[in-house]
Amino acid sequence: MTENYRNRFLREVEANVEQGEWVKMCIQCGACSGSCPLGKFWDHPPQEIFMMIRAGKRREVLTTDAMWLCTSCYNCNVRCPRGLPITHIMHGLAHYAKRQGLVPANQPTAKFARKFWDNLMTKGRVNELKLGLSLPFLNGFGQGLKVAMKNQKLGMSMLKARRMNPMEILGGHAIKDLSGFQKAIKKAEELENTRVVS
């Protein structure tokens, strides 16, 4: 049990997680946990996550589903008496878990984020038609078909009002310097990865 309540994981979080240097300042009052509208669905509310980080529970923290459920409502941020940027820390933790490959399998928020990212990366801009069509299918082909049928009328109206271009399905248009953009992102990823401190 030598890693229990050691600073090592806290320091790792401080080095790698956005706003992670705030974790040590939590006073365990529980205002965040009480304020979270989705709190009852979280395995570990924010206050508990901060305590787990300080208790050195690296694996439990990075593999938990909890911070992926954050809807960025910022209730906790506003109410934290110590002024911790809790929402940012939650996203930072999720991001770090992803980089460490510790995201729970089939985590829907993670899957959605991936979908969004890949869509964005293809043409340097979000292809709304493709993204909008593919989202219902995240929950299985049958479910996707059902949603698509239900939204048929809405889709037709949008077509008529020229709010949706059906030709986008063929690939869609890209930004001006797509390869430059992709290069820049790749470089940024490389840089970020070299910064991982453990």
Partner: protein, 767 residues
């Protein structure tokens, strides 16, 4: 004091008194029933002109003045006539403000309200007849020297503060050097909060552990030419009274007697004996130490990484266990919070972080309390240093080569453990007080066997005396809870039950260094006031400046010693023939002796059996068939009477409050001064109900004289016999605890008695 009594009466018609009451009739009452030859009316007595009128009469020879106007608590600056006896009929707050205003001139309400005012005039006239202007006793002396007992930070601060105010100090320290229990401090918890003026500066410039200042203060004390320091010294005997204490100081080198005016007891605390914590492995390994021992370790390390005591290995991980042996009802543990250990542990954890940033420091707390100006900022400072704060309940410390602390993490709700090199137990403060003078009494008074056994154990394990008072009531300051010296912690923290002796610092309640030093300043101030007042024969708190003092009629005294036993302040000793000997400057003028005396021989010049007894006898009791009951209210002047005054103010300002017209309120100095003869007199004179209003009297007492209210309640138990003898209902006498804030409740309690009388009927003892 003039031998001839010349009386003068004044009725103020201002503040609505003239409109609401028939002043002509009041004047007639004062003359006819009050037997005052001269009664003047004035539209505004408290005006310059009104005061001049009275002063003129005093100059012309008036010695006794009856003043019918507002409450005796109002306009005291205007009506300040120190050379005469003064009684005041409370027509404004006591009558018109608490009675509803009705239109018709001669309705029932007008009639009963007028009767109330007439009675207050009669009472004030009767009172003043039995009063004399008080004068100092002549035993007073001005000795500006203060004795400070204790050479710790508390004592040294008190000594320095007194010396700076030009009062010489005799400082007696038990130890061979100054610093006392604080001298091992490596650093102290900071005294000041973070910079407030910097925008968003909350986390900038956070307070850090700072130099304890012990050596500097000790040097200042040693250098002061107004402070005589006696090291390795004990007090063999303290006798006398404020203004003229005589203290025998014994040192290794010899003995001396010092005369001092007042005493500050700053004997601080003793560290808790951690040997009573075997479950935390204290004593099993040198690597489990107390917070007090860690200070020594840190002082030795002097900025280098702290080494653990067993093998000298540099500490890489340390766990602090808060509330060790504290806030627990287990035998041998301290039931209270010592109030200093949370910030102390944060400070000590910062030692480790400062000297070795890689060292892990965990503070296992149940509740983290960080008092003081720096408190919350210092906590933040500790968090910035990456101290791990874990809310946990420690079950045990296992020492098998290494150290393992087993605990339940209360946030994560799991049983877990930490391995560490060093465990620090945050142990508490045990008051360094002498034996409780009332320990023997507690054994005698115990209500059951268990309580008696506890009291007996306390008596047998009493620590050696510190002050060695030569008082009949015992050798040291009385205690309230957990061995801490009693202080009136709600209102007057430094006051003890021994006048002129002030307790400061952790001897009166657990506290940290900053609080102890602030306490010392307060106590020094109080001691200075005490010597100055003693020099003029005046009382100290709460009847500040009062010149009256108790005396007794020797022929009547039965030497029963009840006054000496019951005096809460140990003011009364006995002479060789067992007659009481009043030490005026120890007296707080509460009148508890007067209330205690079964033969009614004790009195003050301006407050006696007669000044109250004659008031309640000299009013008109309507006969049984008039259906106008009379309720006697004896209200403590400290809380209950002001509460009634404030109720009157509130009613005058529009709040719906009124007082039954049957009530006749007499202020008393303290319920402890209520003599049972007043109650029996009132009952046999035809009062239908009696209410006693005093202060809260349990462990969280608010009685200004500490024991007065409790003594009154004890005495009132005997009233039951009188009631039975007279064949009266027990509901006719009630005793209530009233706080100064009970503005609505105080009149309601009296009105409730009127309601009760409606049901049980009038007293048959009307003549």
């Amino acid at each position: 004091m003039a031998d001839e009594k010349t009386f003068a009466g004044y009725i103020c018609t201002g503040c609505g008194i003239g409109e609401r009451l028939d002043v002509g009739q009041l004047e007639t009452t004062a003359k006819r029933d009050g037997k005052l030859a001269e009664v003047r009316q004035h539209p505004m007595l408290c005006s310059q002109e009104g005061v001049k009128l009275i002063q003129g009469d005093i100059a012309a020879g008036a010695t006794h003045i009856m003043l019918a106007a507002c409450s005796r608590r109002a306009k005291v600056e205007a009506f300040d006539f120190p050379d005469v006896a003064l009684s005041r009929a409370n027509l404004r707050e006591g009558v018109i403000w608490l009675r509803p205003q009705t239109d018709e001139r001669h309705d029932h309400n007008q009639e009963t309200t007028q009767e109330m005012a007439d009675d207050y005039i009669r009472m004030a006239c009767a009172e003043v007849k039995y009063m004399n202007p008080p004068a100092p006793s002549g035993e007073q002396a001005l000795d500006k020297t203060l004795l400070v007992v204790g050479g710790g930070m508390t004592g040294m601060t008190a000594a320095i503060e007194a010396a700076r105010a030009d009062y010489p100090v005799q400082l007696v320290a038990e130890e061979a050097e100054l610093g006392g229990v604080w001298k091992d401090l490596y650093k102290r918890v900071p005294f000041q909060a973070a910079a407030r003026d910097i925008p968003n500066g909350r986390d900038l410039d956070l307070p850090r552990p700072e130099d304890p200042g012990v050596a500097a203060l000790a040097a200042e004390v040693a250098a002061s030419d107004r402070i005589s320091v006696h090291l390795g010294a004990k007090i063999a005997k303290t006798s006398g009274a404020p203004g003229r204490f005589s203290v025998d100081i014994r040192t290794d080198g010899g003995a001396l007697t010092a005369n001092v005016g007042a005493i500050i007891q700053a004997s601080d605390y003793k560290p808790y004996d951690a040997n009573q914590l075997p479950e935390l492995a204290y004593g099993k390994t040198p690597d489990v130490i107390t917070n007090f021992e860690l200070e020594r370790l840190a002082k030795k390390a002097a900025g280098r990484p702290i080494e653990r005591p067993s093998d000298g290995k540099e500490v890489q991980s340390v766990a602090f266990i808060q509330c060790a042996g504290q806030r627990s009802d287990k035998p041998g543990h301290l039931p209270y919070c010592s109030g200093f250990c949370c910030t102390e542990s944060i400070k000590q954890a910062i030692y480790f972080k400062d000297q070795n940033p890689g060292c892990d420091a965990t503070i296992l707390f149940d509740d983290l309390r960080t008092p003081g100006a720096a408190g919350e900022d210092f906590y933040r400072s500790g968090q910035q240093a990456r101290i791990t704060f874990a809310k946990g309940q420690v079950s045990e410390v296992i020492a098998d080569g290494g150290l393992t602390v087993r605990f339940k993490d209360l946030i994560l709700d799991e049983d877990t453990e930490i391995d560490c090199d060093l465990v620090v137990l945050a142990t508490g403060q045990v008051p360094n007080a002498g034996p409780d003078p009332y320990a023997q009494l507690a054994v005698a008074k115990a209500e059951d066997a268990a309580e008696q056994a506890r009291a007996q154990a306390l008596l047998e394990n009493a620590p050696p005396a510190i002050l060695n008072l030569d008082y009949r009531q015992g050798a040291d300051l009385p205690q309230l809870k957990h061995g801490f010296v009693d202080s009136h912690f709600i209102c007057f923290p430094y006051e003890t039950r021994r006048t002129g002796i002030y307790a400061a610092g952790p001897v009166r309640r657990p506290m940290d260094l900053q609080q102890a030093m602030e306490d010392a300043v307060g106590a020094a101030m109080k001691a200075i006031q005490a010597v100055e007042n003693a020099g003029q024969g005046r009382a100290v708190h709460p009847r500040v400046g009062d010149l009256s003092y108790p005396g007794f009629r020797k022929e009547g005294c039965t030497q029963c010693q009840r006054c000496a036993v019951e005096c809460p302040f140990g003011a009364i000793d006995e002479d060789e023939a067992n007659y009481p000997r009043f030490n005026e400057s120890r007296c707080r003028r509460c009148g508890t002796c007067l209330g205690a005396c079964p033969v009614r021989v004790i009195s003050f010049e301006n407050y006696s059996i007669d000044t109250v007894g004659q008031q309640l006898k000299n009013l008109e009791i309507p006969d049984e068939f008039e259906e106008k009951p009379r309720i006697l209210v004896l209200a403590c002047e400290n809380d209950a009477y002001p509460a009634l005054d404030m109720a009157a103010q509130a009613a005058n300002a529009g709040t719906e409050l009124e007082l039954t017209p049957w009530a006749r309120v007499i202020p008393v100095r303290c319920l402890g001064s209520v003599n049972l003869s007043w109650i029996t007199d009132a009952l046999s004179n035809g009062y239908d109900g009696i209410i006693l209003m005093g202060c809260r009297r349990d462990d969280d007492y608010q009685c200004h004289f500490v024991r007065g209210s409790a003594l009154a309640a004890e005495r009132m138990r005997q009233v039951g016999d009188t009631l039975q003898l007279l064949n009266l209902e027990p509901e006719r006498v009630a005793i209530h605890e009233v706080a100064i804030t009970d503005i609505q409740r105080a009149p309601r309690l009296i009105n409730a008695m009127a309601h009760t009388l409606d049901k049980i009927g009038m007293s048959p003892f009307k003549f």
